[in-house]
């Protein structure tokens, strides 16, 4: 076995030192009834070549998004990842290290987390960010739980244009908590009056921009209304590249920012691992979930970094912790950080502009296809179109044209037949003129 260095002689010598006759003597505490006699009913060990063959065959059954024109979004976006990102995250010292509990030999991880927190705070326009969460939906759920702790109030109001999976995750996380979640019908046109629902028992209002249907919002006034009512404004961003072009949550007066960072440095990965973003106002840091890295000095007075404020966390506070979260998404946070570093201010702005332009061009072209209507007035790199038939069927037919055409809205709103013809379409810097042409040509053919 290539991964197991011990051989029969080693084992015999070690057993001698222990004073045990056989390895099974060491397992004597396990009741006989629970022991496996012989081997499990699974294949025997295999060499690299065999494993590669089997897994390679499975991978080949999937259509890689990049194998042709792809226009899927809805919370997961395909962007070009600079080559340096994957090279650097595979450095042994990053890949195979653990949580930086011994700061003297983990300054590499700690410094990149400190830089990550700074980058997230800057992009979101917030005062402080944590060292990352699992992914966007659970980050949003933790934001709602935190708002409950901060305000001591029982109601959370969710926008009808919040990503339905985020809404569901919030509902799951809060179902046994003191926080009651309220949400209305899907808001395709982005028009809803959330301020009207505020009251003295509201802990937070959760909104998204660009919202699930692609519409853009300025939540400044809603934030003011929340403040007047003593509630927190939680702003969700699922496409973090948009922050290179759009007014940030912090600039709108958000109290908590919860988002998905997958777009920068992290691939599509069929849904995970991703990197959850979480930021807030400085006054609330003790109510924040997740790890935090802080600056300090070492015994020689040199600048150093260390995990801090851990008394909020489960390993100390146990049942009184702010969250049960124990891991962050370290390596994805590193990938995010390297990508942001490579982009810098100028690259981030350019990338956002390219994405917007790609979507505007696509929207114009699709809007000219007979029977297709672009519903958005505003959008960043994703918008909703109304098709002359069921979106899921058209998407399936478009696969035959070699195009991944978008995400049928009803896939996420199964109990809403009135949304059956709606399709979410995303474009990014990875899409070429030829991709758009293939989309339009394919769609015309499919609709004909």
């Amino acid at each position: 076995m290539r991964y197991l260095p011990l051989g029969p002689d080693d084992r015999r010598a070690m057993l001698g030192v222990i004073g045990a006759k056989s390895v099974d003597d060491l397992f004597k505490d396990i009741p006989q009834k629970a022991r496996v006699s012989g081997l499990l009913d699974l294949p025997m060990h295999a060499g690299e070549l065999e494993v590669e063959r089997t897994l390679g065959a499975m991978a080949a059954k999937n259509r890689a998004a990049g194998a042709g024109p792809s226009f899927l979004g809805a919370g997961s976006y395909r962007h070009h990842i600079p080559s340096a990102v994957d090279h650097l995250i595979q450095r042994s010292e990053f890949l195979t290290s653990y949580t930086p509990y011994q700061p003297e030999v983990a300054q590499g991880t700690l410094q990149f987390l400190f830089e990550f927190q700074t980058n997230v705070a800057m992009l979101s326009g917030m005062e402080v960010a944590n060292a990352s969460m699992y992914e966007g939906g659970s980050s949003c759920a933790e934001a709602v739980l935190m708002a409950g702790r901060v305000t001591g109030r029982p109601r959370a109001i969710l926008s009808g244009a919040l990503h339905p999976h985020y809404r569901d995750t919030v509902r799951t996380f809060t179902q046994f908590s003191p926080v009651e979640v309220e949400y209305g019908d899907p808001v395709v046109d982005g028009k809803e009056d959330l301020a009207a629902q505020l009251g003295p028992d509201v802990a937070c209002v959760v909104v998204q921009t660009p919202d699930f249907f692609g519409n853009l919002h300025d939540y400044t006034q809603l934030g003011q209304a929340c403040r007047a009512a003593g509630a927190l404004l939680v702003v969700v961003v699922t496409e973090v590249v948009s922050l290179g072009a759009l007014k940030s949550p912090g600039q709108m007066g958000a109290d908590i920012f919860a988002g998905e960072g997958q777009s920068l440095g992290v691939g599509l990965n069929f849904g995970g691992p991703y990197v959850g973003l979480f930021a807030t106002r400085r006054q609330y840091i003790r109510q924040m979930p997740g790890r935090l890295c802080g600056e300090t000095v070492d015994a020689d007075g040199r600048r150093s970094y260390v995990l801090t404020l851990s008394t909020r966390e489960q390993h100390i506070r146990r049942e009184k912790a702010t969250s049960n979260i124990c891991t962050n998404s370290g390596l994805c946070a590193l990938a995010f950080g390297i990508h942001v570093s490579l982009l810098g201010e100028e690259g981030m702005r350019r990338l956002a502009k390219l994405n917007h332009a790609a979507a505007v061009q696509l929207a114009e072209q699709l809007g000219q296809v007979k029977g297709v209507k672009v519903l958005n007035k505003t959008f960043f790199n994703e918008f909703t179109v109304e098709l002359p038939g069921h979106a899921d069927e058209i998407v399936e037919k478009m696969v035959g044209q070699g195009v991944l055409a978008g995400v049928p809205v009803q896939r996420l709103y199964r109990d809403r037949p009135e949304l059956a013809n709606l399709l979410l379409v995303a474009a990014s810097e990875t899409n070429t003129d030829a991709d758009r042409a293939a989309y339009v040509a394919g769609l015309k053919k499919v609709l004909a």
Partner: protein, 507 residues
Amino acid sequence: MKPDTVSGNRALDLEEPLLFELGRPGRTGVDLPDAPKVASRLGGLDREGSIGLAGVSEPEVVRHFVRLSRNNYSIDANLYPLGSCTMKHNPRLNEKMARLPGFGDVHPLQPESTVQGALELIHALGHWLKTITGMPAVAMPPAAGAHGELCGMMAIRAAHEAKGDTNRHRVLIPESAHGTNPATAAQCGFTVDPIPGNERGRIDLAAVKAKLGPDVAGIMLTNPNTLGLFENEVIEVAQAIHSVGGYFYADGANFNAIVGKARPGDMGVDAIHINLHKTFSTPHGGGGPGSGPVCFSAALAPYAPLPMVIEQKGRFHLIEHRGGKNEPGEKSFGRMRTFNGQMGMFVRALSYMMSHGADGLRQVAEDAVLSANYIMASCAADMTSPYPGPCMHEALFDDRFLEGTGVTTLDFAKAMIDEGYHPMTVYFPLVVHGAMLTEPTETESKESVDRFIHVLRTLAKKAKSGDAAFFKNAPRYSPRRRVDETTAARNPVLRWTPPAPKAQAAE
């Protein structure tokens, strides 16, 4: 110690400022074309002012992160004996497989017809997990161990409520448990009732029985437990909890000790999370991402979270919504994350499992347990253990051997850093004074373990010889010496902020 060089560097160890201090306006590490001119659809919501991101070229970025990386300890460099973390070798084949475009470059909402291989992989991994645990169902979404605990405890709560049993608010948890257990129980609205351990370091079965009642929702038990010992009365614990209608949640953090040797399903377990980043070698990445699928008994299986993968007539389907009566997902407690699961970790874990096979996995547990016992026996003359062996895959020491020396567990740990070793897990479990929880894993050679033992024994002797100052001053040779955690916590500085403009600074 702080080097006396002009640069502050020490040969290969290079000091590195923050990225934001390196950045210069206008510099970039990517070349992106000008965007074509289009009529903006941003609705006037354009971002104003500078974001503040640093401008850095690619060579500077590469150097920055390479230099940072060199300040980290890693399993690739040396033995990493962190108890309860299972820092085993991370095979590189797994990395290669996870990066196949057919796995890494697949969107979670692609049409089912275009992702049959991805669904097949999840289904196959689920089969391995079910076989290894001897349990009939598995939930793949949880992103980490604690997320898995949440999954399991939510299923338990949902199962009770489905029976109209809404008065079960108490969960029994041993005092030695990981902090995530009580935190999770609390997050599911339960109150935590701690169970003491007995003089043998196991859960006190009599205490469990004494705490039973109609308001008990279940028990959360780590097995092997956090003291590195197998709970030999596990079946009796399961029977006791079942006798009052409660469920048995097992924390699978220490599964590496029994993989291929024993099955939780045969112990009466109703739910167990498996840390793919521990037992199945997906890299820890400086603290994540993890992956914590949960295996369920038949009693809890109906409440598993969404989405789930099922196979019908050779086709794989992703169930994303609660089904109607008698359909998959009918009683699911819901969705606990945005998308399907930690696919990148699934590929790596399956690659690991296939590489080991039924024979190799059993050998993993045997070698891991053998190595831990070897360390415990080899150090017995110089160090103290609170409980006699055999242990499972972790050797637990306490600080009695340091009594009167003036050296604490922390000092001992810091001295190990100078010797080129990451310390073991210290001060956990909380129920053992000055605990040192040591987990070598099966991927260390005997020579490597022998070198480690030699260092431990020599340091223990040195501590007893009265040289406390040596330990108090450690570490000396690491990139940083002991850091001031008090200052960090009293006045938290959690981000870089640009220096104040000069005019203001002069005031």
